[in-house]
Symmetry: C2
Subunit: 342 residues, 2 copies
Amino acid sequence: MSVTIRDVARQAGVSISTVSRVLNDTCPVREDKRRSVIEASRLLGYRPNPAARSLLGKKVGGLGVLLPYVSGEFFTELLHGLDVAAQESKFFLVISTSHGVVDEFKAAIQAMHKRVDGMIVMAPELAADDMASIAKSGTPVSFVNTYVDGLDADVFNFDNYGGAFAVTQHLTALGHRRIAIIKGPSGAGDARERLRGYRAAMAEAGVSDTRRLEFDGDYTQAAGFAAAELIVQTAPRPTAIVAANDYCAAGAISALNDAGLAIPDEVAVTGFDDVPSSQYTLPPLTTVRVPIREFGYQVFRRLVARLEGQVEEDEFRQQVLPVELVVRGSTVGAVSQRGSFR
Amino acid sequence: MSVTIRDVARQAGVSISTVSRVLNDTCPVREDKRRSVIEASRLLGYRPNPAARSLLGKKVGGLGVLLPYVSGEFFTELLHGLDVAAQESKFFLVISTSHGVVDEFKAAIQAMHKRVDGMIVMAPELAADDMASIAKSGTPVSFVNTYVDGLDADVFNFDNYGGAFAVTQHLTALGHRRIAIIKGPSGAGDARERLRGYRAAMAEAGVSDTRRLEFDGDYTQAAGFAAAELIVQTAPRPTAIVAANDYCAAGAISALNDAGLAIPDEVAVTGFDDVPSSQYTLPPLTTVRVPIREFGYQVFRRLVARLEGQVEEDEFRQQVLPVELVVRGSTVGAVSQRGSFR
DNA sequence: CTGTTAGCGCCTTCAT
DNA sequence: ATGAAGGCGCTAACAG
């Protein structure tokens, strides 16, 4: 086995409590003993066993992160923000993915038990009561991108509604009226919010019935491609497409290119998220910028504040982070301007 | 506190040993007791405390991953591969980053102690003896992208030498002779290997002295930009640039565009890694494809095999994974072909 | 100031 | 087949 506190005590010629006191700096210890403990500890290469500490009810120093995936630019950016915050706070990150499968998700939650002091959870597919029970499990949790009310947890969302409203309004302001939407997965709260924003902006422009303009999708490029193929066959053909996210928009752009339709002159396209690669589509994508990394950072900081007792146990916050419209060539030819909508 | 094995025992009217036996399926237990234990356990929502288990010398079920960063397409892809493998093997991932700072790295290693059963480490900046001491720490370790001999650990590398050789040879075959290279960080083993490959291919083409053609860089886009600015001022001007990685190549492309030089007609450019965005540079980048995700997966599997005792304790493997030349528009105009070089 | 002791939750002999 | 008891490494009372 590895070296324990007892080995250090023996080596230093003191009791184990003295070693503990020196290493944790919890009570004053005579200088010579203190020194010999420190030396013995270094000599032996002693590392306290975190399991033993944890057993005594101490914090373990880890934060769990539960995401659908780790790949894709969205999650990458989120992880980056979390990582920066973790480094600052001396927490380590335990990461699990659910791949949208509820069972994998629950298994991951189980696995986190007692291994982390808190959790950051993004689980669009999870039912409200499952979330509630996680929130009550004893481990503090922050939910991300979650539209469930009354959780005993902090909840952080982007302004999905506002962003979708803004990008749709941008199109109506350009004169578009037949604006199709490629929706996100029907179960996901963020996708619903984006749909709501689209409908509201359409209604404001006088289009109150959008049923014929709504097409199914699931945030993937493939779905965007397939939906756009349907859209271009619709008569009268929509003059613009609001895609639920950037990947989906990228798929739509491919389909429009295949169909020989000019973007934005014959069909304009918009996305959502502003992942880095959206600057490089042809034409570059008009979209809604989401400050993902900053978002991750803030979520983390708030959770750490709670763990450190700086937040009342029963004080929960529901926070909506602003987003920003980014106008590029996929809606207005040969122009690249950016505007904030609030 | 949370519910312990004792609570379950009381609820089920048996001893804690019986509970343990039932839950771990370690010895036969009378059917009715077994059932009441299972029910009690579910009723109370019992979760074994992993800290207590770990204290008894059991595996903790986690794998540590230590990387310079989590952002950037390279690390993202690597994480993805690791994540897939982790999910399969029911391991959780503990992730830490060093940001290239040796002290952060060492702190992270400390933090992993006894919290994980094994570690996957990528630390280009770490000294050989530090690696050796990590390898001997008791926790099995796999090193990634590491050029240090004689480690008591598995070591996985890409064929950095071969890839650089191939991409340089591709240029010499096109007739180029004044081929500049923008190097990676001088301390990094992979960068050294890439430089070696470049020099070998140049020598093969009859250019044995490349000193005037070598420019400093550090894998960043900014460095690529700066280096290319120097390169275009060189007389006689190089006709091609081998960049140490794709980001660096992207910076060089920007600089060449700013200088009004046509790619590839006046200056050809190559990268290394084939990160996804390299398909979208203008022109698309000729580069070396590295199967990063697959790589992560394999590294993980091998480590798990070791943890499960399927590998002899003192059997270490040094593995080099093949790479592939991808030819795009940045070296040959209006063509997009892909070839394997081995 | 310092050593001794009692657990934290669990698994594992050792008896029964 | 099952219960009692010891101990993993550590911290925090409790005595000196």
